[in-house]
Symmetry: D3
Subunit: 157 residues, 6 copies
């Protein structure tokens, strides 16, 4: 029986990486959350009702990065070998910048894992402090750099 | 044996909502993804290598919203009664705006679910098209409005 | 800013059940797996290499039914109040028939949960015994009956 | 202290594959869903209430295949390197045939992943169209072929 | 077709709670982890290589409690309305005691959720500090008290 | 822009194992559950209301071990190549001892996977029999031995 293929334009697939070489892959992504002065000070004074905001956000970012293959439909499941986070206080925004670095020795890049970590971490900050400020805005989620893989290195301008 | 409590400032908790009333909760959130003209046109021509981008993003947004309680550490697990998405083409960005509306009859708001749907949906667009453009930027993720609950209604200015 | 809606035909959504009444919902589904005589006898003699086949299948069916909302994109997350399985030996097939009954007091039916339980249970039988027979066939997965909800009762003919 | 082992026949285990060689593994599985003429036409006209049926099914099949190790108790967790789906329209059934091909470079076969993708994809079709037809039947879920591994190649007759 | 039931003794099931009344359910559980003096001091000095141990354990306990229905085969999926943790320093053990309180308004008790939170939290402490001490022992995981439900209140002696 | 790093003592991270060698890792862990004579006899007579207790516990232990990377925040996701369980009847406790052995060819140890399997398995026993005895105590969860990796072999005294 011959299959009547769906139109190629309408068929989702997880791209075949079987023949790619294992190599070290590193991706760094970042994003920001802007908030009211009151919310910002509450976090820095470590007095949010739900608990310590930034530590919780870092843990959520790491756990979220590990779940990327579950959440992004066409992402390959991966075994990250390292996830590292940094948070910068941005007094002038005011708000925070979260940066996540993911590493893997494997066949596909880890850009999505780094971006997922940033997104989940920033959403966690939103959740922990939303009783004080509902108008927070998450922005500027982007890839900072990647190394490894056939497409080579990349650094955001 | 008496417990030596952790300092109240350093103890995370899932806030007690046992005594809150069930009511209809609605939250609407949105966010944007900015990309190159080439990436934008590839999506609109429905010719991305991994499959149909916008439909995949909508499905990922809905499935991601359902996983909010797994991903955000202090979020209550919820049984959403409705999730609805819209995507707007923004020719001038160029890029797309994703809007997610979540509903629940329950004791807690669904802001995080709507924001999670937006984030996962936009990340899915990034994933499906990143072979063409790695410099895409996800921005302006925010709550548009919420109804229901003790804190009342909210509309972003 | 006005949204340019995706064509209604191309937009997935989780249907709004907010205004539906809570009622008792019951759904019963079943399916079969056909196998070689040798595979059938190995299961009945409880001598499969991976362990006790039918008990493992029942447990997998129950755990799988609980994950329906994670697996079927537009399914509502539900809190099942009961899951019950039966397995019939079908000497003439030869093979087994798995029947799963799911219950809920809620706003949506539990047909998918019962069907998911049947599917995961039968796949588990396949997995446990595939070293002996790779040509097993899973068939006849269907809804046997449902009660409750606006659309009323249903019994398969 | 000596362990009183459970009877070998009653102890489930995840079989040890530590000493197996990594090799390319490919598995292809398929299955069908039979439905009423009305349901069939609704899908082909892309007018189902929950959204585009076939695309949603393909995405669910891919995401479901990735979760096989979570759902089937004795399956090894795997890192699939490719998942590809095809759907055939079967006017005479009427209904659809879903075929899923999974690939991996690893120590165990990917038959279960292909079969899981087929099952979840077909259940998703059921879910998206069940408001029109509750009597749909999922059948003929089977392995079409596999390559790689110690047990060699297999093709269904 | 009549089903040949599995022997009642060999059939797992998720017990039917459909007819139980919703009521407030509270369960409190606790457990301890005993470790070397060096490991104990490293945690209290907040100098573990993987990060802040006790806060991470509390977050893991809360997230783990929410996943009880996924992990314990016959547990009902639940929507916890509150999870609260305390950690006591036990200088004489030396080690820590973790106490988790879970609440729900629903049809089943939350003992397993409290016990799961304790287990996952203590395992997280083990993980964060195992580079220093592999001989840590987790003990005395038990239910402290429960309120609500047909079987009434319970307090451990 | 320079990042204002969080204090090193307060930043969680998933430790970088990218440069570690793949090797065979084995870890064996165990733990006990103590219960009333009545509960003990009910399990041994295989008459618990929720189904066969020990087989269900073994399956839950195996499935739980596979989820370690989801549950323990700083654990690497792993692809276990083997999980094996034994249960000993301890007439004098009375109760049971569960032992779980996990294997992997990879860059990190599998101690946490073995300990997680033990914990989830024992909690499953608790769940299946708690209608009879709420005072059961889970104790003595510890690593029995590990092989492989830079830190070498370990055997509990």
């Amino acid at each position: 029986m011959k299959l009547t293929h769906l139109d190629k334009n309408n068929r989702a697939k997880m791209v075949d990486v079987s023949n790619k070489q294992d190599s070290i892959r590193v991706a760094k992504a970042s994003g920001t959350i802007k908030m009211s002065q009151e919310a910002y000070e509450t976090i820095n004074a470590n007095q949010a009702k739900k608990g310590p905001v930034l530590q919780t956000a870092v843990i959520a970012a790491i756990m979220g990065a590990k779940k990327t293959g579950d959440l992004i439909p066409m992402c390959h499941p991966l075994m990250l070998s390292s996830i590292d986070c940094d948070i910068a206080k941005l007094d002038n925004l005011p708000g925070f910048r979260l940066e996540v670095t993911a590493k893997l020795i494997g066949k596909t890049g880890v850009e999505m894992e780094a971006l997922m970590g940033v997104s989940i971490g920033l959403l966690t900050i939103y959740d922990m402090i939303k009783a004080i400020d509902k108008s927070m805005i998450i922005s500027d989620i982007k890839l900072i750099s990647k190394q490894g893989g056939k497409s080579g290195n990349y650094t955001a301008m």
